[in-house]
């Protein structure tokens, strides 16, 4: 039976009305709980909403802080809706979109979503905490030295290069563009450090064909957003970033980042999320003025450009040529705050805030006339994406 056409019941019904973030850094003295509470508190002040009005909570399953702890520290009221989204970096747009669904359906009226992490210490990285014996999907990769997320994605990158002729120059385009954007963002952690093509090409290998600069940062920090109805948002302090369309994506036979066992491993979760999102939207990829694409690793940008329909398969590399993803003159400025590779890596949640800032008109690399702003979460894991719009 053919699927019912998407009707988009939540289209334009909600908006991101408050943004909050802590400073980013390495070895911040505050606890993850304190960072989460600070980010949520700043986001509520930004919106002009009292904490006692918060009645909805969305968080990552990997979030270390429990709903009860954030609620009683910040001073929430009766919370009547709370939920979590799984799969790490795939969850960023997921928590915001789930919050939007809860607000639009009346399960709550003021929802907050946040991500707080202290990951700058090397010992905190999951791959470094080896289990005694492996009984999940890791048993098919780690005994053979495919240990870290970068190894898992490097394997797909090499295959991509083989199938489509992608090059390290394409990956360099991405790293350099994001570093340029970070240089304009005083809150970024790497903006003070320019990167040339020679810097990229001479960087040490991490997992060939990926070098140091193909990797995201590891950052301590927290970010939060407040989601309310579109009607309420219009009466608040900040210009609303309307949640026009939202989708999640988990394609057939998918196995997260060691997705080596499907017929077409280079067609990842982005394609599933994109199909639904564009069905739900009144706009198309050619209407998107600016995009924040999840960048734990540079090759994910190429896959996302293809998956979300900015170019055909195999053309994601050349799409990055000629400054095409750079502010201000590129055809599609990408990761205008510096992204996970040059601003901060907080599981992609900083991308959500930058996507909303572009709609507000307050980015440090503001795209003129940014009325449609795309944010995506982790490609390579079950993912999610949001289209923000300026008008409804």
């Amino acid at each position: 039976m053919p699927r019912q056409p998407a009707t988009g019941l939540i289209k334009n019904q909600t908006a991101v009305a408050g943004l909050g973030q802590t400073t980013f850094g390495k070895g911040l003295p505050d606890t993850e709980l304190s960072l989460a509470c600070q980010a949520v508190s700043i986001a509520l002040d930004d919106a002009g909403i009292e904490p006692s009005e918060v009645d909805g909570i969305a968080s990552y399953t990997m979030e270390p802080n429990r709903e009860v702890d954030v609620a009683r520290n910040v001073g929430f009221g009766d919370v009547t809706w709370f939920a979590q989204v799984g799969f790490g970096g795939g969850a960023g747009c997921g928590v915001v979109g789930q919050a939007a669904m809860a607000v639009a359906t009346g399960q709550c009226s003021v929802a907050v979503a946040w991500r707080a992490r202290k990951r700058a210490s090397a010992a905190s990285r999951p791959w470094a905490q080896a289990a005694a014996r492996l009984s999940d999907s890791q048993q098919w990769s780690r005994p053979f030295g495919v240990i870290r997320p970068v190894d898992e994605i490097a394997m797909l990158t090499r295959r991509y290069m083989h199938e489509y002729g992608g090059t390290r120059d394409h990956l360099a385009n991405i790293a350099i563009a994001f570093r340029k954007h970070a240089a304009r963002n005083p809150g970024s952690t790497m903006g003070h450090k320019p990167m040339t093509r020679a810097d990229y090409m001479n960087a040490r290998w991490i997992s060939e064909p990926l070098c140091l600069f193909d990797n995201c940062l590891e950052t301590d920090g927290a970010l939060a957003v407040v989601v309310v109805s579109a009607e309420r948002a219009r009466d608040l302090k900040q210009p609303p970033a309307y949640i026009h369309a939202f989708a999640q994506g988990l394609p057939p036979q998918h196995q997260t980042m060691t997705n080596y066992f499907t017929d077409d491993p280079l067609r990842g979760p982005a394609w599933a999320a994109a199909k639904r999102m564009w069905e739900l939207a009144d706009v198309t990829a050619s209407d998107v003025k600016v995009a924040q694409l999840y960048d734990a690793f540079s090759p994910l940008i190429i896959l996302s450009l293809e998956g979300y329909g900015f170019c055909d398969r195999g053309e994601g590399g050349p799409f990055t040529d000629d400054g095409n993803i750079e502010w201000p003159n590129g055809r599609l400025p990408v990761n205008t705050s510096g992204g996970g590779m040059s601003e901060a890596y907080v599981h992609g949640f900083n991308l959500v805030l930058e996507g909303a800032r572009q709609i507000r008109g307050t980015s440090t690399a503001q795209v003129e006339g940014a009325d449609v702003s795309l944010v995506t979460s982790g490609e390579g894991v079950p993912t999610s994406a949001i289209l923000f719009t300026k008008d409804v």
Binding site: S135, S137, W140, F144, G145, A154, M155, Q253
Partner: protein
């Protein structure tokens, strides 16, 4: 040698037959006992016909390199000691839809850093060999 290696749990009910096959020198693939479809990694239900009945079938142990990487530190100590090394993915000649992660070695008991990574090419033919670490037998691959 190879102390602190990451190894599978041989008691895992979904995969123990695979690892037992390796110990006998056989590269097995899980098949649906109802419809015969092969699948990798092993799992409890056949996505083709939804049967939970499984059997294990022998393969030729021959395939081609589908992709490869060369990891460098920082790595876990056992792997840092032999880095840079290669990790490969092999697609089986019997069914290219069945893939295994492995390492390309010069001989069954050679180290995973013996082959010059610059000589590895996607598509080159390989065959399985077996290497013992502690109580585990891992499939590895040599040039065919």
């Amino acid at each position: 040698m190879e102390t602190g290696w990451l190894l599978p749990d041989l008691e895992d009910p979904e995969s123990n037959e695979f690892w037992a096959g390796c110990a006998r020198g056989e590269l097995l693939v899980q098949a649906c006992a109802a419809c015969g479809a092969w699948r990798m990694p092993p799992r409890p239900m056949c996505a083709v016909c939804r049967s939970t009945a499984v059997r294990w079938e022998p393969t030729t142990g021959r395939g081609r390199v589908w992709s490869f990487i060369v990891p460098h530190p920082p790595l876990l100590p056992a792997f840092a000691e032999v880095a840079p090394y290669n990790s490969i993915i092999v697609e089986l000649d019997d069914d290219p839809g069945i893939r295994f992660v492995g390492n390309l070695v010069a001989s069954a008991h050679g180290a995973i850093n013996e082959i010059d990574p610059a000589t590895i090419t996607i598509g080159e033919p390989v065959r399985v060999v077996f290497h013992h670490i502690e109580d585990v037998t891992l499939p590895r691959w040599v040039r065919a």
